[in-house]
């Protein structure tokens, strides 16, 4: 265990804030605000269903900017791969989240929070595959 890196309090607070955010969207317009879905559906505009997505995403960047400025530990960013690796990973993440209909927030937070078997199954699958991918990357290829 990496006890130096372990930060359970800020993690729980951050997770709760993310849930407040998705809960607020559910309260306002009844949408399940998985972030990959918010992004993807802002790309195929429909009347009355686009503006909220765009301002939500802009709000996220603003929330990040303010937090990075006032809370120093949050601004840490240590990349796990180079820019080419980020492009490959981004393609997988974008394609996979749309084909599977969700990401860590849609399947993970909202899906499990609503007792959705799709959400639970999706989360178990992407977690397991990501764990294997990290194992191969760190202990087979680099090891």
């Amino acid at each position: 265990m990496d006890w130096d890196a372990f930060t359970p309090i800020s993690a729980t607070v951050g997770g709760a804030l993310l849930a407040l955010a998705t809960g607020l969207v559910l309260f306002l317009n009844g949408k399940i605000a998985g972030i990959s879905g918010v992004i993807a559906r802002s790309l195929r505009p429909r009347a009355g269903d686009t503006a909220w997505r765009v301002v939500f995403l802009l709000g996220m960047v603003a929330g990040g900017a303010v937090t990075f400025a006032v809370y120093e530990p949050a601004a840490a960013f240590a990349p796990s791969t180079g820019t080419a690796g980020m492009v490959v990973a981004g393609l997988f993440v974008g394609f996979g989240t749309r084909l599977g209909g969700g990401c860590t927030s849609g399947h993970g937070v909202c899906g499990i929070g609503r007792a959705s078997t799709r959400g639970v199954a999706g989360t178990l699958i992407f977690m397991a595959v990501a764990i294997v991918t990290v194992y191969v990357r760190l202990h087979v290829v680099q090891g």
Binding site: T22, I39, S116, F126
Partner: protein
Amino acid sequence: MKGLIGFVLAGFLAGVGLSVSGMTNPAKVTGFLDFAGNWDPTLLFVMGGAVAVFAVLNVLIHRRSAPYLCGTLPGVRGATGIDRRLVLGAALFGVGWGLAGVCPGPAVTDLALLRTDVLAFVGAMVGGMLLAQRGFGADAPPAPVEVDVA
């Protein structure tokens, strides 16, 4: 559209939450996924806190007959059907998440860092989403039910 300020606030809360939680740092995510290395269980607490709070809010909000502004509530229980698209899509997402330690919410939030590698990730992610939507019919409205008249 009325009420847009509420969605700005929701996005802002999401951005604050993700950055406070540590998920905007790829090393933190990789540390959680690396069971064979120096494991950092932090992300379990992000997920646990988020699921617990959202589960309560979901039940409370569904006591209303309709959302506050517009639309309809989706039902207190989430979808149940597991199909090939879900399995394959989640697996491909897992490959990307494991490669970079970045998923969609933290990627958007990390745009505030003005890093070219984050911008490259987000650009590629949008490309992957468009490919899934335009080339593979993801997010398409449900197909009309075919009636067998024979």
